[in-house]
Amino acid sequence: MSQAVPLDRPRRLLDLEIDGRTTRAPEGATILDACRAEGVDTPTMCYAGNLTPVNACRVCMVEVEGSRVLVPACSRPVEDGMKVQTDTERVRHSRKLVMEFLASSVDTSLASTDWLRWMGEYGADPSRYGAAMEPMETGERDERWAGHHHDPDPTIAETVAQPVKVDNELYVRDYERCVLCYKCVEACGVDAQNTFAIAVAGRGFDARISTEFAVPLDESACVYCGNCIGVCPTGALMFKSEHDMRAEETWDEDAQTVTNTICPYCGVGCELEVHVQDNEIVKVSSPEDHSVTSGHLCIKGRFGFSYVQSRRGRDDRRPR
C-alpha cells in the first residue's frame, strides 16, 4: 500500500555574499545557517537548534550592508542579494566585548569548548574590567528592586556570583554560571515543556531566572523534566549527581561512556543518551536532533534510572 509522504514546499534558493564570496541559501534560512554551510565559524551562546532564537547574547553579530547597526546572524533570515561581513574590525570588536562582558560577570568556565576557544581567538580578556566582586549571600540577588541599584564600588567589577541553589534531589541551579540566554525559560515554556515553572524576573543587570517569589523548585510548578538542564549552555543547571561529583572532584568526562538507548517507560520511544562513569549512571540526555525528542525528555526518562542500578545485595539505601 502506497502512502503519501508530506513534503515541505520546495524552498527557493537565494543568492548572497558572505565575506566577498557568493553563495546560495534556501529562503527562510538564517545568516547563521548560511555561514555554517559555508564553513564560516560563528560564535553563538543563546542560539540552539531546538529552540526559537531569542538573539539576546549578541555574540553572533555580523555586518550587513545597508544596516546601521550589526545584525544577529542566528535569527536574521537571509535575503536575496544580501552582503554579509563576518570578520571586520567592527564585528570582531563587538564579539570580543560581548565575550568579555559575559566572562567578567558570569562564570563561563563550564561553557562549551567552542566558547573557550572563541574567547582565545577573539583575544577576550575579562580581567580588564577589574577584580571580580565577592559572591553575594543566597537570595540577595532575588530581592533586587527594578530601577534601584546602589552606586558601584570603584574597586571591583560587579558579577552575578552567588551560592548554588540546591533544593531538590534531582538537579541544582548554579546561577553564578547563568548568562541569561533564556534557553531554560523557552524549554520550560512553549518550546518544549509548557510548564512555565521559571521565568526571567527583575530588570537590567539584576535580571535573573526565577520561580515565583524565588520559591524552591519543589514549591513551584516544576515537573522535573530536566529539559532546562538539557539546553543550559554553561552548566548553570546541572544534574545533582554531576554537581556532587564535581564537588568531590570525581567527575571525569574522559572516564565516561555514553550509551544510546530507547526509554523503557512508555510508547513514545524517546532516545536516551546514558552517561556512565564507574559503572554508575551519572546523567541522561537526548540528542538535540532526534526526531522524537528534539533533545527533550520527561522526568522518567531523564531521572528515573535508579532502578537500573538497584543491584541485589548492593543497595543499602533501600527504605526499610
Binding site: 544577529p72 566585548l97 530601577g147 534601584h148 512555565f196 521565568a199 543587570f205 535580571a207 510548578a221
Partner: protein, 615 residues
C-alpha cells in the same frame, strides 16, 4: 503551598475585573456548574493583557504584591505565577515585598538634582533614615526623572488605598503633608507651558493653542475651541486622502526616531484585512521630557481626537493610550476625556453619527523607561515583560497582539489635527524644507521660566533659551543637554545650532524628544555623567548582553575615574569607556542600549569633562 489572597486583595482585583464567575478562576464557592464546565484554555489566556492593570490594582489598593495576591491575579487571568512574578519585578512601581503604605519617589535626576532634589534627599535621609526604611507608615526612594523638570524638584507618591500624587517644587514639608494619614494633597498641575500665559505670543501657537485656555475637563469647551473639526474633516476626506495629507505635510515623528508618519499610516492601512490597532505612546520617560504630560494635562481631548483620526486613517477600530505610570494628573484627565468622548458619542459604535466604530483604552505604565520603546510597549500592553522585540518584523506588520499597528507619540498625533485644520500645503510651509511644522521643546535647568515652548522648526538653541527668559541673571551658561539622556551635551559654542532634523543630523547632535536642559557654572558635569550612567544601568531591560553588562561597565569605569583609582591610567579608562560605547551602539537590540553612551561620550569629547583625568 498555594498562598491565599486576603479579602482586601480580592477586593482590589475584583474592583478591576469584576467578581470571579466560577471556582475555576478564584471564586471561593464552587457552584454545581463548576463541576461540569471548565473555563480555561485560550479564552482565559487571552485575558493576559489585563495583567498590568491587575498588578496596579493590587499595588494601589494594598501597597504591595503578595504571594496570595499574585496567585489570585494568576488564577483570574490564567497566567503562570512565575511569569506574573517576572512581570511584577520588571517595574519600579511594583513591590513584591511588604513595604510602608506610602512611598515617596524623590527625583534626583538631571534637572531636579541641582534644583533641590539632592538636598531634599539629604533631609529625608536625616529625618526618615536611608531609602526604603520604614519611617512610620512611609518611606522615600530616589527616582529617575519624573517628567516635571519645569517644577523641579519633583516628587511622586504612591499611597496604598489613596490616590497617587505628583508634585513640583517639593520640600521636606510637602513630603510630610503627602504621607500624613489625613493628607488632603492632590495633584495641582503647575504652569507647564508659560508661553500660553503670555497673551502676546498666544496667536502664533498651534499645538499649544488651547493649553491653559480650554477647560481640560469639558468636551463642550473643547468643541467651542475648534475641537472635533479635524475628525469631521477627516471623515469627509476619507482615509486615503487623510494619509496623503499627512504625507504631503511631511510630518515626522516627534518621539525621537523622526520617522515619516504618513509612510507608517500608509503601511498599516494597506495590510491584509483583520484587526489593526493605533497606539498613542504617552510613556514619556526620557529624562528632561515633559511636553506630552503638559499636552495631556491641558488639552486631553486633542489627544483623543487625533488618535481617533489615526484609527480612521489606518482602518483600526481600537486604540490604546499607554501613559507613563508616574503621571497621575495626566492619567486622570485622559481617563476623563475618554469617558466624556464616549458619553458624547465621539467614541464608541457610532462616532459622531458616522456609523464608524472606534474606542480607546487607557493603559498605565508602571515605572520603566524602556516601555516607551515601541515594541517593549506592545509587550507591556500584552501583559508581558517590557522587553523590546527584535526588528524586523516592524510594528506596521507585527505590532500589539501581533497585529498591524500604527504607534505615534502624543506630539506627533496632535500635529495631525493641525495638518487637517490648515491643510497639508500650509503645514508644509511652516518650518524648514526637511523639518516641517511646529515643535515643542522642554526647557529646564538654568533658565528663568522653565516649561514647554512651541516654535516653528528652524529656531536655534539660543532662541529657545531666550523664550524661556534666558539664563538667570548673574550666571553663565556652561552646557546644554539636547535630546535627553539618550541625546548629548553641547557647549556654549553651539547656541546657534538650528533645531531641525537636518541640521541635527549634520551637526552631530539630536533633537530627541525636544529636551533643552540648560546648565550654568554651578553644574557639576562629572556628577551629571554619573547620574546618566546610573539611569541607563537602572533602565536597561537586561535582555541583551551589550546593554545589560555594558551599562554596568560604563558606570563602573566612570566611578573609577572619579574616585581617582583607574585601572591603568585615566587615558586607559577613557579608551575602555569608548570601547564599551562602541559595542553598545553596534550590537544592542534596541535604542536604549544603542544610545546609552551618547551623553557621556559627548561630555567627554565635546566638553572635555575628564580632560586631565578625573573631573
Amino acid at each position: 503551598m498555594e498562598a491565599a489572597p486576603t479579602a482586601e486583595e480580592r477586593a482590589a482585583v475584583d474592583g478591576l475585573l469584576g467578581p470571579p464567575e466560577t471556582g475555576w478562576v478564584g471564586a471561593t464557592e464552587r457552584s454545581a456548574d463548576d463541576l461540569r464546565v471548565v473555563r480555561a484554555g485560550r479564552e482565559a489566556r487571552e485575558q493576559r493583557h489585563l495583567l498590568l492593570p491587575a498588578l496596579h490594582a493590587l499595588q494601589a489598593g494594598v501597597g504591595w504584591i503578595s504571594r496570595g495576591g499574585l496567585n489570585y491575579v494568576c488564577q483570574r487571568l490564567s497566567v503562570p505565577p512565575a511569569e506574573a512574578y517576572g512581570v511584577a519585578t520588571f517595574y519600579a512601581m511594583f513591590s513584591v515585598e511588604e513595604r510602608p503604605a506610602n512611598v515617596v519617589h524623590v527625583c534626583d535626576d538631571l534637572a531636579c538634582r541641582g534644583a533641590g532634589g539632592l538636598a531634599l534627599c539629604g533631609e529625608l535621609e536625616r529625618d526618615a533614615g536611608p531609602e526604603g526604611a520604614d519611617a512610620g507608615g512611609w518611606t522615600w526612594v530616589r527616582s529617575p526623572c519624573l517628567g516635571m523638570c519645569e517644577q523641579a524638584p519633583a516628587v511622586f507618591a504612591q499611597r496604598a488605598g489613596r490616590p497617587e500624587v505628583a508634585l513640583g517644587g517639593a520640600t521636606r514639608e510637602t513630603v510630610a503633608e503627602v504621607v500624613a494619614p489625613d493628607s488632603a494633597v492632590i495633584c495641582a498641575g503647575g504652569v507647564g507651558a508659560p508661553q500660553t500665559a503670555d497673551a502676546g505670543s498666544r496667536d502664533s501657537l498651534r499645538l499649544l493653542r488651547r493649553a491653559g485656555v480650554v477647560d481640560p475637563t469639558s468636551i463642550d469647551d473643547y468643541r467651542a475651541h475648534g475641537g472635533y473639526e479635524a475628525l469631521r474633516a477627516a471623515y469627509e476626506m476619507g482615509p486615503g486622502r487623510v494619509i496623503e495629507a499627512i504625507t504631503e505635510a511631511k510630518l515626522l515623528g516627534r518621539g525621537g526616531a523622526a520617522f515619516p508618519t504618513g509612510v507608517k499610516w500608509q503601511a498599516v492601512s494597506t495590510q491584509p484585512a483583520g484587526p489593526r490597532y493605533v497606539v498613542c505612546n504617552a510613556d514619556e520617560s526620557e529624562p528632561g521630557t515633559f511636553k506630552d504630560r503638559v499636552v495631556m494635562e491641558q488639552d486631553p481631548f486633542a489627544v483623543v481626537e487625533s488618535l481617533t483620526v489615526a484609527g480612521f486613517a489606518c482602518g483600526a477600530d481600537r486604540g490604546f493610550v499607554y501613559i507613563r505610570g508616574e503621571y497621575p494628573l495626566a492619567t486622570e484627565r485622559m481617563e476623563h476625556a475618554i469617558g466624556e468622548a464616549r458619553r458624547h458619542g465621539s467614541l464608541g459604535d457610532d462616532v459622531m453619527g458616522s456609523g464608524r466604530t472606534f474606542d480607546i483604552e487607557l493603559r498605565r505604565g508602571a515605572g520603566a523607561y524602556i516601555c516607551g520603546e515601541e515594541t517593549a510597549l506592545f509587550n507591556s500592553l500584552e501583559g508581558k515583560r517590557g522587553e523590546p522585540r527584535n526588528k524586523p518584523p516592524f510594528p506596521v506588520t507585527f505590532g500589539v497582539f501581533g497585529r498591524p499597528t500604527a504607534i505615534n507619540n502624543v506630539e506627533t498625533l496632535i500635529n495631525v489635527l493641525e495638518v487637517l485644520r490648515i491643510g497639508a500645503d500650509a503645514y508644509a510651509a511652516i518650518g524648514t524644507e526637511g523639518s516641517t511644522g511646529p515643535r515643542l521643546f522642554c526647557l529646564s535647568g538654568a533658565v528663568e521660566r522653565p516649561g514647554v515652548y512651541e516654535v516653528e522648526h528652524g529656531a536655534t538653541v539660543r532662541d529657545l533659551i531666550a523664550l524661556a527668559g534666558g539664563v538667570p541673571r548673574g550666571s553663565t551658561l556652561k552646557a546644554v543637554l539636547l535630546g535627553g539622556a539618550a541625546g548629548g551635551f553641547v557647549g556654549p559654542d553651539m547656541l546657534d545650532a538650528r533645531l531641525t532634523f537636518e541640521d541635527a543630523r549634520q551637526g552631530g547632535y539630536t533633537l530627541g524628544s525636544g529636551v533643552i536642559m540648560v546648565f550654568d557654572e554651578r553644574a557639576d558635569l562629572v556628577d551629571l555623567c554619573l547620574r546618566i550612567a546610573r539611569f541607563f544601568r537602572d533602565e536597561s531591560c537586561g535582555q541583551c548582553v551589550p546593554c545589560r553588562v555594558g551599562t554596568v561597565r560604563q558606570e563602573e569605569a566612570l566611578h573609577r575615574l572619579v574616585a581617582g583609582t583607574p585601572i591603568g591610567s585615566a587615558q586607559d579608562e577613557l579608551a575602555l569607556i569608548d570601547e564599551v560605547a562602541r559595542v553598545m551602539r553596534d550590537a544592542s537590540i534596541c535604542g536604549l542600549g544603542q544610545t546609552a553612551a551618547n551623553a557621556v561620550q559627548s561630555a567627554i569629547s565635546k566638553l572635555g569633562v575628564f580632560d586631565g583625568g578625573a573631573a
